[in-house]
Symmetry: C2
Subunit: 191 residues, 2 copies
């Protein structure tokens, strides 16, 4: 039957709900309703709500790594790889429009809760940061690689937040284009 384990189902639905409703605002009852199990059953799989969050972050880290790996094999051109990253804003626009960036909104929420898993969530940013920096290095921007990575990360983050707030797809498209222009202007400077 190849049935998905209950544990995996809990993580999967929690991932979705934490993104759409926020972590604090998502209750056990919400997740139980989605997975269609009883509330008491949770504690056989997870000791606490925080453990679910931990598992969700680990899932997101794995999914993100998979995505980065795919981009890595899809082309040898580091500039094109970075463009893949920039264009997630458009690829995932239908979700970003309503729920913002899954990484940024989570880290922001955990910061306000002063939650013990802040560092884990920040790893999601670090994953992108390090991968982007590696691409910039391949472009020959060894010295500025990390600064450029943070720059692109920040701009994407801001576009997601503003795009979510104003629900304006054209704005997102324009900013994506500008970021790609900036990226390609670096190549020329270098070559």
């Amino acid at each position: 039957m190849n049935k998905i384990s209950t544990r995996a189902q809990i993580i999967q639905h929690a991932d979705q709900l934490f993104y759409q409703q926020g972590f604090e605002n998502t209750s056990f009852a919400d997740i139980a309703g989605m997975v269609k199990i009883s509330r008491g059953n949770f504690y056989h799989h997870f000791k606490s709500k925080d453990e679910i969050l931990k598992a969700v972050i680990e899932l997101r880290l794995a999914n993100t790594q998979n995505m980065l790996d795919k981009w890595q094999t899809s082309t040898d051109n580091p500039t094109k790889r970075i463009e893949c990253f920039i264009k997630i804003l458009i690829t995932n626009w239908s979700k970003i429009k309503y729920y913002g960036c899954p990484v940024g909104t989570l880290t922001s929420e955990l910061a306000k809760l002063n939650h013990s898993l802040q560092a884990n969530a920040n790893e999601l940013f670090s994953l992108f940061r390090n991968w982007l920096a590696a691409q910039f290095e391949l472009m020959g921007q060894v010295k500025k690689a990390d600064a450029f990575a943070m720059h692109i990360l920040a701009r994407s983050q801001g576009v997601a937040t503003l795009g979510n707030s104003f629900r304006d797809e054209n704005f997102v498209k324009q900013e994506v284009e500008q970021m790609c222009d900036w990226l390609n202007s670096l190549k020329k400077q270098q070559g």
Copy 2:
């Protein structure tokens, strides 16, 4: 005695707590503890928690307008005015470091809650957006004024989110400098 009214005190402390802990995560008990009044007393001043949020947003709108007005009178140079905006990231760094941008984090949270006051919170962004656009117009950038306003708004927002996540002041300073450089390069293009 010139005592601050209870209502004003509630709004003031709620403003602070909503920023530091988030709206949903701040309870009546939290606010009551700060103002030092009984919980039941709230409903003489506000019909519901949402009404407090509404009042808090109105307070923030008023405070923001005051800040913009001050910048407006502090100099005739629109470029310098925009620099004032960009540099809030540094001015308010000690708070942003721990709680992020008060506007961005609120709109993001309300989006996830699908809250009825989303539009009110977004007005905070609009206030900055329109003021920035007016400054860009004064700089002679009539056609691109709004796009530039959104651009600066988005970049500031992203820097606040990443700055909050990584707690990195140097990154913030670098990005602020780059934004100012970009701003001043526009002036040269024009003149």
